[in-house]
């Protein structure tokens, strides 16, 4: 339960920060989450999902309020992908996901080096 609460808090904190304009929050929170959770197999997918959601939710809300079709088309045109509005959408979500994923990975790997016994303890407690 504590893990779920940790991840939920991380997700909420990330979303709140992104909404305030701190777009790199998935990375920063990912680092902390990774360090706290410790287990790469849990922390890294969780970081990726948190990153993905924290950029997806505002995008979805904006789509609901304003409609993102013309904006996606404009961004695609600016990027040189005329008439392919999915490109900026995918790119946006990939960036959010990567920020969360790499942050969590960095967090777990730092912890793995700085406090390796914690991993062993965790394994022993399973």
């Amino acid at each position: 339960m504590r893990l779920y609460i940790t991840l939920l808090l991380a997700a909420l904190a990330t979303l709140a920060a992104v909404l305030l304009g701190v777009w790199w929050a998935p990375f920063a929170v990912g680092v902390i989450t990774g360090a706290v959770v410790g287990r790469a197999r849990v922390a890294i997918p969780a970081g990726a999902v948190i990153g993905f959601l924290s950029w997806l939710v505002p995008l979805a809300v904006a789509h609901g309020r304003y409609g993102l079709g013309p904006t996606a088309q404009a961004l695609a045109a600016i990027m040189g992908f005329d008439h392919q509005p999915l490109v900026p959408i995918v790119l946006t979500l990939v960036v959010g996901t990567l920020l969360g994923l790499t942050g969590a990975w960095l967090g777990t790997s730092v912890r793995g080096v700085v406090a390796p016994s914690a991993r062993v303890d965790a394994a022993r407690n399973r």
Binding site: M1, R2, L3, Y4, V18, L19, L20, G21, W23, W24, F27, V36, G38, R39, A40, W55, L56, P58, L59, A62, H63, R65, Y66, G67, P70, T71, Q73, A74, L75, A76, A77, I78, M79, P88, L91, T92, V95, G96, L98, L99, T102, G103, W105, L106, T108, S109, V110, G112, V113, A115, P116, S117, A118, R119, V120, D121, A122, A123, N125, R126
Partner: protein
């Protein structure tokens, strides 16, 4: 760390035997962890680098694409809803009403608030455009786009736009109405910048390019005015003339590029003219050194981005007095032709306050209505095209380093230093030297400085404010006494049936020399003044009840002052001739006639030349395709319509004909001037020879043997038909002009995907519906028709009010413009009653 071992989710599971992590033989767990960390660091660094820093062709991904402050904010920015908000600096509440097409109507209780709100509205919809324009003038484009803009920045700082704008602001008295207007306007812009920052709604292009808008200042508004002056009247023509004289020889250069036009013209001011207050120019043969150093500078200017050098103008305006108007009131029509961009150069609005009741179009970044009407008068403008750029070769020697010889003495250059920050590169340090003539813009081979009227500190914005308030011809012309540059043909019509036209601005006069060439900078050839205001081209209530301008030479050969040559300074005259022809017909004219004439596609040159061509071909052996093309030309009404196949034949014929006659000369004399730069003069020559002098020596070009004009026409015709058959098929009837002639509205940030078009359209460079070039990117940037009899005002520009490509107001007026329709220019009250109008209430 202990939290991990006490993890409830783990602790609640049945205890499992402690198993050491599987590992490959020979590898220690510690090494794996370090490798894992290294991998994480490297990948994280790569992701963070791509997120935070731009790469070639890619913006920094984080700020550019994040959903809250990145490019996606375009979606929210595209929405305009009713709102009530605080605006710092207001004295009283202000109401801004938007029609469903985006036209803004600003109503304020004080003049200060009117201009503050105008700044806010401009910035709300055009901040990125405004920023680009001020950066261009200030030589600061490289700071945001990198070294690709370095040549432009260097040139702009050398030319002196920033220096001039700063001087203009310093010299503007605090008592001048323009002083407070510029300050209020700047505050409005800065209010919007602050709001956009705090609400993360800065235009998406800022986030995509990764920078923020700096605060706006009055100097920025003056810089934008400087940009417009430059694009309309800073020319390199004396350099081209020097190269032409050097390569063709003085006799051919003087014959082909004369001061006075050789062809039929329609000047609007036919005299009689006053005696000259300045003595006529004393001409002397150009010293050889004046011709020798032009090439490097000409080449440098040719390589500059479009818009920095004026390549000739193209705009129309005219007025019809009450006596010839079907409505009984004066009529006025204006369509300034500019580079057609998205967003457009224009922002349409009406401005209401105790001191101002004006409607029309403004240039974002400047606080005035430039073309429009108030309660009593309407006005529009075209470029007057007189020579405003003069080049001087400074005399220097090794014994006087850092000095130049002027009026018998050695003078030290004034030196200004600038830093040009470059995105992704080192800051460039630039030193600019100034002589008495102006900035030194070339030191390769010889030191050349340039006198440009755009560098004369002016109070032209105050003049425009006075025009916005004028109520009759007296007010109008009194205001224009102060106008310097660029010279414009200001057309006028008022609610009492009067019309007028005045080509206001600065007309530099030199004591002697040949100002169409670079001149010695030793003092004898300096600009000594301007034409007195009373003597500049103008007319008021002419007996014919019509008045018109289309960049043609405004005066006849009897005009006593030098104002420029045929080479680029004045239009060839075909649009003016056509407008004059239509307006001069018997009978009354209506607003609908004005509208039709603005989109008239009749090519005056074609109407003159095609009959001659048909005569030349009368006895020529033609194949079936050629005969069919001749039949098309025989039945043609000379209109460059998209469905006309004959228009295609003519269009290609004239281009090929100019090439056929002049290219052998260019080759044999090694002329290093682009023919496009002197196309107007060549066209006038060829027209004149074709009509009146078919045995002119120009047809006997070196290497082609003796021939006449008709011989050249026949050869050209065969080649054109062969090429058109190859490109468009063998049936000439299918060669619709729309297949070869299209327009493109180009995105201002040069993002091709945000262009509009190409879309077929009629017209060419000679028709009132101006559409030169292929694809055509230049043309009527705003069409306005005023009928004081019915008090109806109409207008349209290609594009929309918003620079946001996700907004409905990005291109919503394009179809109306292409269809040659106009939208009513409503008052604020009228707009409030329309469907879909939105209202903003701004409070102090």
């Amino acid at each position: 760390m202990c939290g991990v071992t006490a993890e409830p989710a783990v602790a609640e599971r049945p205890a499992a035997p402690a198993i050491a992590p599987a590992r490959r033989p020979g590898r220690r767990p510690g090494a794996l962890r370090v490798l894992n960390l290294l991998g994480a660091v490297v990948v994280s660094a790569a992701v963070l680098y791509a997120a935070f820093f731009p790469a070639p062709g890619l913006p920094a991904l984080g700020p550019a694409f994040n959903p809250v402050t990145g490019g996606w904010t375009m979606a929210a920015d595209a929405q305009v809803t009713d709102r009530s908000f605080r605006l710092a600096g207001l004295e009283q509440p202000v109401r801004v009403l938007f029609e469903s097409d985006g036209t803004a109507h600003i109503t304020a209780r004080t003049d200060h608030d009117l201009f503050l709100a105008t700044g806010y509205v401009h910035a709300r919809f055009r901040l990125f455009q405004m920023d680009l324009m001020r950066r261009q003038g200030a030589g600061r484009l490289s700071e945001v786009v990198g070294k690709a803009a370095l040549d432009s920045d260097r040139f702009e700082l050398q030319l002196g736009l920033l220096k001039t704008a700063q001087l203009e602001w310093q010299q503007l008295p605090a008592s001048d109405p323009g002083h407070d207007v510029l300050l209020a306007y700047a505050q409005g812009v800065n209010d919007r910048i602050d709001e956009a920052r705090s609400t993360h709604t800065l235009d998406a292009m800022f986030s995509l390019l990764g920078y923020e808008a700096k605060p706006w200042t009055p100097v920025d508004s003056l810089l934008i005015k400087g940009d417009m002056t430059q694009t309309l009247n800073f020319t390199d023509t004396p350099l081209a003339m020097a190269l032409l004289t050097k390569s063709l020889g003085a006799d051919l250069a003087n014959e082909w590029f004369p001061t006075l036009p050789p062809n039929q013209q329609s000047p609007y001011d036919t005299g009689p003219y006053a005696r000259p207050a300045v003595a006529p120019i004393e001409q002397m043969p150009p010293p050889a050194e004046m011709l020798s150093g032009a090439q490097p500078l000409y080449d440098r200017m040719a390589a500059l981005p479009a818009g920095l050098i004026s390549r000739g103008g193209a705009s129309n305006n005219w007025a019809v007095a009450a006596g010839k108007s079907a409505s009984g009131g004066a009529l006025l029509a204006g369509d300034p032709h500019l580079h057609l961009t998205l967003p457009a150069i224009w922002f349409q609005l009406s401005m209401e306050s105790p001191g101002y009741h004006v409607a029309g179009v403004s240039i974002p970044g400047t606080p005035v209505v430039l073309i429009g009407h108030n309660e009593h008068i309407a006005w529009s403008l075209t470029d007057a095209q007189n020579q405003q750029t003069f080049f001087y070769v400074e005399k220097e020697d090794a014994a006087h380093p850092g000095m130049y010889f002027w009026k018998g003495d050695w003078k030290a250059y004034t030196t200004l230093s600038y830093d040009i920050p470059v995105l992704g590169g080192a800051t460039e340090h630039l030193k600019v030297r100034w002589s008495v003539h102006g900035p030194v813009i070339s030191q390769r081979g010889q030191t050349t400085s340039v006198y440009w009227t755009g560098n004369l500190p002016s109070q032209d914005l105050s003049v425009l404010l006075a025009i916005d308030r004028a109520s009759d011809w007296g007010d109008f012309t009194r205001a224009l006494r102060g106008w310097l540059s660029p010279t414009h043909n200001f057309v006028y019509a008022d609610d009492r049936g009067n019309i007028g036209l005045i080509s206001a601005g600065y007309y530099p006069q030199v004591a002697k020399g040949q100002p169409w060439l670079p001149m010695p900078g030793t003092g004898e050839y300096d600009v000594i003044g301007t034409i007195p205001f009373e003597d500049i081209p103008q007319d008021y209530n002419p007996p014919a009840n019509i008045i018109w301008s289309a960049n043609q030479r405004q005066v006849t050969k009897d005009y006593p002052y030098y104002i420029g040559t045929t080479t680029n300074f004045f239009d060839e005259g075909y649009r003016a001739n056509e407008i004059h022809r239509v307006l001069s017909r018997p009978g009354k004219l209506s607003a609908a006639d004005m509208q039709a004439l603005q989109t008239d596609t009749r090519d005056f040159l074609a109407a003159q030349i095609v009959p001659v061509l048909l005569r030349s071909l009368a006895k020529e052996q033609l194949n079936a395709t050629e005969s069919a093309a001749v039949d098309l030309l025989k039945g043609w009404d000379f209109r460059m319509d998209t469905g006309s196949a004959a228009a295609s034949v003519w269009w290609y014929f004239w281009g090929y004909y100019v090439f056929e006659v002049f290219e052998p000369w260019w080759k044999s004399r090694a002329v290093k001037v682009d023919k496009d730069d002197v196309w107007g003069a060549l066209t006038q020559d060829l027209e004149t020879w074709t009509l009146k002098d078919p045995e002119n020596r120009a047809f006997n070009a070196p290497g082609v043997g003796p021939r006449t004009g008709p011989d050249a026409q026949r050869k050209t015709f065969h080649k054109v038909i062969a090429d058109l058959s190859k490109g468009l098929g063998s049936d000439p009837k299918s060669w619709a002009f729309g297949r070869v002639h299209q327009r493109v509205l180009e995105n201002l940030a040069q993002v091709k995907g945000l262009n509009y078009g190409p879309r077929p359209d009629g017209g060419d460079a000679n028709t009132p519906l101006a559409a030169g070039g292929y694809p055509s990117t230049h043309g009527p940037s705003w069409r306005m028709v005023v009928d004081w009899g019915s008090r109806t005002f109409q207008g349209v520009f290609p594009g929309g009010e918003s620079e946001n490509p996700a907004s409905d107001w990005y291109t919503n007026r394009v179809d109306t413009w292409f269809a040659a329709r106009l939208d009513p220019m409503l008052t604020a009250e009228g707009a409030a009653a329309t469907r879909g109008a939105k209202s903003w209430e701004a409070h102090p």
